[in-house]
Symmetry: C2
């Protein structure tokens, strides 16, 4: 594998799929000793421009975030019924860890570099202030990685 | 759930099950831009005093560690064939994330507090300079947690 392909070695997020985000957010809040965070919903495809396996990605998710270190967060993810990497993994493997994330600069170049190494793009899109991409890195890294780029 | 039950909210380790630790360690080293770390083996049961599901835990694992943040590491884990939480999860779910870990003080009290909340002890043992416990927290947290206590 090309060395230091992302230009970072810092994991900044652990994404966990759940079926009932209100219940899970409450349990995590108690467990971590923090207030229950707001649950927010990813943007509709018209805004997010999401693509999933080469097609417009209509799947959305409800999200809740918890700080679990100086620069690490847990993201709880409850997908809707439409196709997405979240829905696919929840159906296939059940609740549990979906991804680990890295902050990158130069999203397009990073995606291209990963694809050249046999790690294809699974899903990508935009959010207010940045963009994300999920990569099928399971063959080499045994976990899905997410790239996050904030402007 | 009892609030702030561990007395910490900081995730310090992400444990990932692999079938071939030499190959995975090399790929992670390239990906993260670091030298390939040494692979070490957990102690035999006579030394680790490991217990797994209420019996002496003879399962061992080969481990490799990568720093992925100021206070976070990825632990690659290749279990042997004997029964352990590592072997059980690898057989049931395949390669992928096994646990997230927290540093605690007062291991016995923390295990008892978690058990009182319906999160039973799965496996525990000692290593040079400390002790560990894996907890079946999947019902509430959707992931196995590990407690680590260093002296």
């Amino acid at each position: 594998m090309k060395k230091y392909i992302l230009g970072t070695s810092e994991v900044t997020q652990i994404g966990i799929l759940v079926r009932d985000i209100e219940t899970s957010a409450r349990l995590y809040a108690d467990f971590l000793g923090v207030p229950v965070p707001p649950v927010r919903t990813t943007d509709p495809q018209e805004k997010s421009k999401a693509r999933y396996r080469g097609k417009p990605g209509r799947g959305r998710a409800r999200l809740a975030f918890f700080k679990v270190g100086p620069n690490v967060e847990i993201e709880l993810i409850q997908p809707d019924a439409e196709p997405s990497t979240w829905r696919e993994d929840l159906d296939r493997r059940g609740e549990g860890v979906h991804h680990i994330a890295f902050q990158v600069k130069g999203m397009k170049e990073k995606i291209a570099a990963l694809e050249a190494e046999g790690m294809p793009l699974l899903q990508n899109g935009e959010y207010t202030g940045g963009r994300y991409a999920y990569i099928d890195s399971s063959r080499d890294l045994k976990v899905t990685i997410e790239l996050l780029e904030n402007d």
